[in-house]
């Protein structure tokens, strides 16, 4: 039902990406001894784990035929508010709850705008990204950059900076998030509904699926996951820069999601695809950083390889004029 459509016709995009990643991995592993050390592999995953967690959240919304461009903003402002509340003397646990509430509130607004006011997701979330950042920054925060100070020596700090048996916590959290979402999508009734809704919203609605509440759920989940990513980011660098809400990070997230084979048109893809996409980006970035490739060149190489992957996919699985969907951009 899901993700299988492409496989039936030929080599899946996922397969292509795995193949490309494997080739790159081998090249780096053979030429760079540092690259193949277990520590480096872990740090490779650690470096992309926040990206990966956000990508899982993005995949949730894309599978349900939406998109959430406000993920980065939610992540930044909710985590920043947690830090600020705690710096101002609030117990960190309570601050976390309030921060989660803020993230869910933004997710709820997204959902309401998309489900009930029927504003296209791409615009609703784009506008909310801007408005939410603006609201929190101007009404709640004292600075762009909020340091982790008061909660420096509590359990909170461990979220993004500790490790279990040598495996960094961000990697573990990425794995947990991926697993939970995977189970949700695969086995929960609501997860199956999400695929049905993404595949064909009208049919889902006629069948009696609660489309609108499902859309709400989808954006609430995404917001909660983004909040977790924010905590990891804040605790791993001891601060959070809210300006990241206005960066192009969200494009990277979309790329990661789509490169692994999650269809932008909805209804297709699994968490596995997101992991594949994340690892590919991780291998590329890590390898190039070891090679001391300048940042701009890294960008070019990364994008060219991504472009190659989608071209190969398009050649292997051409879209048909008769079956392509209108408005599927």
């Amino acid at each position: 039902m899901s993700g299988g459509g492409k496989k039936a016709r030929g080599i899946s995009q996922e397969g292509i990406v795995i193949a490309i990643s494997a080739v790159i991995f081998l090249v780096f592993a053979v030429t760079q001894p540092v690259f193949r050390t277990p520590e480096n592999i872990l740090s490779l995953i650690q470096n992309v784990s926040i990206l990966g967690i956000l990508a899982v959240a993005m995949a949730l919304t894309i599978i349900g035929r939406g998109i959430d461009l406000s993920l980065v903003a939610i992540m930044a402002v909710s985590a920043a508010w947690v830090l600020q509340l705690s710096n101002n003397g609030m117990p960190i646990g309570l601050a976390c709850l309030i921060g989660l509430g803020l993230a869910l509130l933004i997710g709820l607004v997204n959902g309401i705008l998309i489900a009930y006011l029927e504003i296209p997701a791409i615009f609703a979330t784009l506008a909310i990204a801007t408005a939410a950042y603006g609201f929190v920054r101007s009404m709640l925060l004292e600075d762009n950059l909020i340091y982790l100070k008061a909660a420096q020596d509590t359990w909170f700090k461990v979220i993004g900076s500790g490790d279990v048996l040598g495996v960094p916590n961000p990697v573990i959290l990425f794995a947990i998030v991926a697993l939970v979402v995977h189970l949700f999508l695969k086995h929960a009734v609501k997860g199956r509904f999400l695929y049905a809704m993404g595949e064909n919203p009208s049919a889902a609605r006629i069948t009696g699926l609660p489309n609108r509440p499902m859309v709400l759920l989808q954006y609430l989940l995404a917001a909660a996951i983004a909040f977790l990513a924010g905590l990891i980011m804040a605790t791993s660098v001891d601060s959070i820069e809210t300006r990241i809400a206005r960066s192009t990070l969200v494009y990277d997230i979309i790329l990661v999601v789509v490169i692994g084979g999650v269809g932008l048109a909805g209804g297709k893809g699994k968490v596995r695809n997101v992991i594949v996409g994340t690892l590919m980006i991780g291998i590329l970035l890590n390898g190039m950083t070891i090679l001391n490739t300048p940042y701009t060149i890294q960008n070019i190489i990364k994008s060219v390889i991504l472009l190659a992957a989608i071209i190969v996919d398009s050649v292997m699985n051409p879209r048909d004029e008769q079956t392509s969907q209108q408005g599927d951009i």
Partner: protein, 707 residues
Amino acid sequence: MSFRRSLARARYKYVPDHVLGELLSKNWVDNAIPVLILVLTLVVLGSLLDGLVSVSSLLGMSAQYGEVLLVTIGMTVVLLAGGIDLSVGSVFALANFVMLALFNMMGLPIGVAIFGALACGAAVGAVNGILIGYLKLRAFLTTLVSMIIVRAIVDMLLLSYAVKIANPVTESAFWDFISFETLWGLPFSFLAAAVVAIAGHVLLTRLRPGWRILAVGGSRRSAYNAGLPVKRTVASTYVISGVLAALAGVFYASRLNAAGSGTGAGLEIVALTAAVVGGNSLGGGRGSIFKAVLGAVIVLLVTNSVIRLGLPAGGDSLVLGLILLLAVGIDVKWVKNRSKLVSRVYVSPAHMELSERPETAEGSGSPYALNDKLADVELIGLGQIDGPEDPVLDEDGNIYAGTRHGDIIRFRAPDFAEPEVFVHIGGHPLGLTFDRDGNLLACIAGMGVYSISPQREIRKLTDQTNRSLTSIIDDSRMRLADDLDVAPDGRIFFSEATVRFDMSDWMVDALEARGNGRIISFDPASGKTRTILPNLRFPNGICMCRDGESFLFAQTWGCSISRYWFAGPKTGKVDVVVPDLPGYPDNINRASDGGYWVALVGMRTPAFDLILKNPALRKRMVERVAPDEWLFPNMNYGCVVKIDIDGTVTDCLWDRSGTNHPMITSMREHKGWLYLGGVSNNRIGRYRIPGADPEWTAAKSYRGEAA
């Protein structure tokens, strides 16, 4: 009571209810929302900021506006074809860099430098276009990647050349002019954007490539199946977008003479926002350049004002986000509900009071009394023809009739066995007649008046008349040309039943009972088309009187027949010949005894006569009841009436069972037979007229050979 009634009559006569629906169904009404947002923006921001709405302030924005507009137009064209171009910001930065590098650093001539910059934009656009149009990659993803690649290339180049390219090694009067001077107080970039906007408007509304873009965006699959070059069209939109973004980048170079990593960053969001706030839809097909112009104004006003408001950090983002949300929200609701709104308000009934309905009961002694004369009608082409509204016979006795499929079918005399397609013409051919040279003239619903020669050559006679100044609907085009006749001087007079409804909804016009129709004359000698009698209640049949100076015409919803003089001493006068028919008259044709046959397409009913007096009731009905349940005039049962020139009824033919001819829209006498047509029948009837002149034909009558 009677005062109330005359009050109601006056109210429905003078209050133009129909205007609202006509306004809402105009395409340009889509622009109402962005215009409203613009006005709101101006009012709110203008009151918050002194001097925002001033010439100097607006002029201060005009250079930036020119650049944003160029990019927005490019984005709009891509959106219209169903794509999206996220690479515009990077292309903008690339063109800016190339322009400065070629001109400032390498000292190339200004023309070469500008061409180089535009070529870079075109190249990126072409890459996007080939990938998306020909290789069918996804637009969002592809342009996202090309945005990142181009941006990275620009950053890399900047690293080495950022400082060098800012110091010009050469000079150019033209470049200095673009950079510093203004024409009529306006910067060059603004004027260039205005020219591009006008060109783009012409392209999209008047030229074939533009129509193709809209067709592909509207429905890619249909465009592909219709044989349009979908791939090329899609690809070309990205090239357009690339070139326009590059042009904007060139103007940016002239304005700031600098390149940095922030140049053009986020421009894709600005352009996308502008395009959508202006009312262009994501996903294609719906939009215009004017909307892009409006959207760009709104976005620029808001962003610049927000900076000037001096809000606390982040406040600007809050305001921008909310405005974007509001604009898109309103637009979405508008697009979704506009058609619902139009269908609710479009039908606007008018007041009408018919006089007493003449008796039709059998044995009542009324001239309209029911009989069964049509019981034994012969049937021609049963099941082989669909909707012969007005069959006509040539001198050899062959029958010609239009069909709903846009054909004119011919049944050959004498046995009328097999139909053949005489011509395929399109539309729904309604009233037919022969002119003196044997050409078949046809009124075609949705198209106009056409002439078909005996050699089957189709020629358009007219499809538009003079536009009346007070009409909101474009009444110059012909929506429902219905019946026609040719005057002795060669002029063609034809009726257009209604200017407010298409053929498919012609019955809804009855609910309005307003004078929505008109009679138009076309003079083949001068080629001029003129409306001569406006505001008629569904004018239908037209038939020349034998005096050569006047014709009879029927008003279907008016249940009357009138006579209009187009020549002679009474020129321009209208007389009512039959004021109160028991049914709805359709076509009128000459009879062999000097009278005129009139088809009654349906019979009046007391219920419908009653609600005609109550427009408010009809309005409520249209608003609240499903169309299937609307009370319509009875169109299931009719008859043929023969009148003389004074309106006296001399004969009446009924089909009591209603099986042979359930609906009669026309009848033609030919050599002692009466041929019957019906716009929703699947047959032509043939009735032997007792005692009629067996040699009489309409053609002879028009030539004046017989009475």
